[in-house]
Amino acid sequence: MIAFPAKVAAARAAAGLSRRAGAGGGTSLPGKLLLRMAPDAISRLSSRISGGVVVVSATNGKTTTAKMLAAMLEPERRLCRNAAGANLGSGVASALIACRDADLGVFEVDEAALEDVAPALGPRVLGLGNLFRDQLDRYGELELVAARWRRISASGPWRLVRNADDPLVAGLPGGDDALAYGIDDPSVALPELPHAADSKWCGACGSRLRYDAVYLGHLGAWACPACGNARPRLDVAATSVEFDGLDGTDITLRTPLGERRLRMPLPGLYNVYNALAAVAMACALGEVTLERMTAGLEVFGPAFGRFERVSIGGREAVLVLSKNPAGANEVIRTLAHDPAPKRLVVALNDRIADGRDVSWIWDVDFELLAGGVQSVWTSGTRAAEMAVRLKYAGVDPDLVRVEPDLAAALDAAVASGTGPAYVLTTYTAMLELRGALTRRGVVPPYWEAA
């Protein structure tokens, strides 16, 4: 019988080997090994973190929200995080193996893995952000994930933080101390529910929901006209949202601790939701001042591949992860804030971590980009398929080139003009791209970048 510390040491050694062998940063492998030797490793290691653990889950925004929360906490706390986005049990365990003296844990957890991982982590605060259709071949229907979340949110002693604007999340069972966040500014609302909206029906009675404001996908100020079920009162809210193109966003933050006007150096309404989630979770922790929250958001640099700017031979490329309809639609809406015609690379991979099924690209409103394209390179394992999608979205086929090799597509796009090239990629394409850029010394490896 090998003692637990020896198992941890063995798994830790495997991380070093993996990194030296060039097989990645050991963000999943050590945890996988340890969990095989000690299935209860997550709860044993996390219980040693003196200040407890915070968990965030969502379809979109997990990595950014966790990073924002970390930026608020980091000046005063030693954090243990799965910062590189490895968010299954193996990734969480790997992060726990890697940090020895943390006094607070901040973990993002995959929405489908939450039911297994959250009870093991036993968080003080559980933040649940949003549920969108994503990788139907892997996660199954949205309803199945929502049912898992209902079970998990009803079961724990933790303080629940939930997105009031998502009808699938707002009604999750939580205690009296649960906090709700949302946007309160109809001036940034969409004219109607977008095509890819996932939740149009009341969770309580099945009637069609009424929206006084739709902010993003099916998120908004919703109410059921039949049974009275409605968006709960907002404990944390953003009002007076103003976009400054792709450079930043000004918001007024309303919290139980007071109100502040602040500027985030990030574009897009989805980042407002990420900021609100981070603030609400900080409020739920109860030991962070409003000044620290604001300061964390104001200095915030994007998580890797989220409107991340890199310089390639003196020219700029902006890397944007877009991996499911709701996320990609927000990326496109955000790009449209800047009306200048753009050079784009759109990379579509169909590996397991992307979802083998690529039909989701037809639920993305690429039509919004059609008039704003200078030239576009489609890339990835399904490069031609992506080109077909753009053709039917109304992008002039003469402006579209199919280049399955992502590094070659990037170089061509960057070299073909001044001004930034925007690179939209699925998850594994982003990892490949960063691998290529790391080898050129353009960006640090992904396990150090986040």
Partner: protein
């Protein structure tokens, strides 16, 4: 002017696998040829409108159950429309609803339209993955159809009912008899999404011709530049063969 009218059944409920891609392809291929194209949605409680083509997509289980009773009530009108020459394209969950019904794990039954003699029952494991089939809708003109399947249902065709094609890679109707989908006159049902039509432009054109026949007789369609579509088709075929 030649024109094609499509009735999109339950667009609010049955749209999970990017069904609007199929509609977009039909529209594009008509409009490029100067053929007028109109789509009308038809939801629960609405009377079934006259149309050249009826489209039924796939939905989450809950949404599929929500519309199945309503659709069963429209079955008579749909049968009359098909007898009058209308075409039908039904994908995934919509395909299951073409038949007599769906028997769930717990023995629960969801009614179908009975438009085609086929029955579906829940299987032990979802069949998920890339799929290629070979079909010959017009004799002497074989094609492959590529796409993605994701279904728990096992569909069995009645005696003498023809599948849409034979599975080359993937599972198809039930994973055992190598049949995929159904073809009965101008009625096509299939588990293949992806969506179905963008990568299979010949099938889109077959549907356009079949749908136009009712009011316009036999129509010649000028060829379009399908270089990108055919490249996407080749890539999908290669990926299905290697997975």
């Amino acid at each position: 002017m030649t024109d094609l009218t499509v009735c999109h059944l339950y667009p609010e409920h049955l749209n999970i696998y990017a069904d609007r891609g199929n509609i977009a392809v039909l529209r594009y291929r008509c409009e490029r040829r100067g053929i007028g194209f109109t789509v009308a949605g038809c939801g629960p409680g609405d009377p079934l409108p006259e149309a050249d083509l009826y489209y039924l997509g796939g939905g989450q289980d809950r949404d599929q159950v929500a519309v199945s009773e309503d659709l069963a009530g429209k079955a008579g009108a749909l049968r009359t429309a098909v007898a009058g020459g209308a075409a039908v394209l039904a994908v995934c969950g919509g395909y299951q609803l073409l038949g007599h019904g769906y028997r769930g794990h717990a023995g629960d039954e969801m009614p179908g339209t009975g438009l085609v003699d086929l029955m579906t029952e829940a299987g032990p494991k979802r069949m998920i993955g890339n799929i290629t089939i070979r079909c010959e809708l017009d004799q002497g003109d074989p094609h492959t159809v590529v796409g993605f399947e994701n279904h728990a249902g096992r569909t069995h065709l009645g005696a003498g009912v023809e599948p849409l094609g034979r599975v080359l890679h993937g599972n198809g109707n039930n994973g055992s008899d190598r049949g995929e989908g159904v073809r009965a006159g101008r009625v096509i049902g299939t588990y293949i999404h992806g969506p179905l039509l963008p990568k299979n432009p010949w099938l889109a054109d077959w549907l356009v011709r079949a749908s136009l026949e009712r009011r316009h007789g036999e129509i010649h369609l000028d060829p379009l530049d399908d270089a990108l579509e055919l490249e996407a088709h080749r890539v999908a075929e290669r990926i299905a063969a290697s997975s």
